[in-house]
Symmetry: C2
Subunit: 188 residues, 2 copies
């Protein structure tokens, strides 16, 4: 089992460093990103869509040039544990997802993925072992066309907030979201 | 100028590797995160809020344990170029922001921050030099109280989509967002 250029254990160490712990979602996520990459021409320039904000985005950020801050990774939160890598010019790409019917044939992955045990009850070592051995077998792959026009948002306007004086997204009657809420992030 | 444990140039090299290029927003963002950290007791456990999805989240992910995938970094998109680090138990923290009135006293930072020149016209080397020398002088710092109760979302329900069969966020009449849209990410 290789995850991009790394062995499972090498990737696991990198996950501990970036994500803070060897979370099953980032480990399975690494296998997913790797699988998607293996289906695409290596010379292309790919953007990424994660359909969840849990764990999976960190696998994308670790294994591809796509990050939240550079905008090449988008989170489109349908809640599906799925990643799509697609050509940034044509929208043609590959979607890798967790296939519920395949997960049900496993033991530890099934318990974790469907939340059948609490985190405290979870046997993480056994689960990570199963992800290493059988992770790829619970995945599905599809060739997809991403509707890029639907993803492009208009360039927003920025104005100075009439209260705090900082530059913020226009709208809200001249006040930024935080000055409107007063309590969300309050001076003390 | 140190950014956490790094010199400006060492941090710049890490930014090129993670973010893809030495974007001014990630460079200034590094100074912002560093400044916030210097105002907090080093022993605490801090979560982060970025008020923009542009560049700044990558500085947070590079310099703190907070990532999008582990949930310790949240993006609350007011559009303000601002980061808050706060104690995850009490909500007490520090907010660092770009002060528009201070930016107006600079040359290159002013042109970049207020979009007065196109990316093509921008003298990036000069801009990065100004960020290194004067970046900290355009920032403001406030002690803040984060309303953590307002940030906590209820644990969502997941169900299997009646069309694709994948586990997704409940709602939408039994279909996941992508099966409802049909074209957003379409099989080909």
């Amino acid at each position: 089992m290789k995850i991009a250029a790394d062995t499972f254990d090498e990737y696991l160490r990198k996950v501990r460093s970036f994500h803070g712990n060897a979370a099953p979602g980032v480990m399975l996520g690494g296998i997913m990103v790797s699988l998607a990459q293996s289906k695409l021409p290596p010379s292309g320039l790919y953007d990424a869509i994660c359909e969840t904000d849990r764990c999976l985005p960190d696998a994308v950020q670790m294994l591809t040039p796509c990050t939240i801050g550079n905008g090449w990774l988008r989170i489109l939160n349908t809640g599906r544990f799925s990643v799509t890598l697609y050509d940034k010019h044509t929208g043609v790409g590959v979607r890798v997802f967790v296939a519920a019917d395949k997960v049900k044939k496993t033991s530890e992955i099934n318990k974790w993925f469907f939340g059948l045990v609490s985190k405290q009850q979870q046997d993480t070592e056994k689960l990570l072992g199963e992800i290493e051995l059988y992770g790829e077998s619970v995945l599905g792959v599809r060739s997809v066309q991403v509707d890029m026009a639907a993803l492009v948002l208009p360039e927003p306007d920025y104005v100075l907030c009439a209260s705090c004086g900082e530059s913020h997204l226009a709208g809200g009657g001249g006040l930024c979201l935080i000055c409107r809420s007063e309590t969300l992030i309050a001076d003390r």
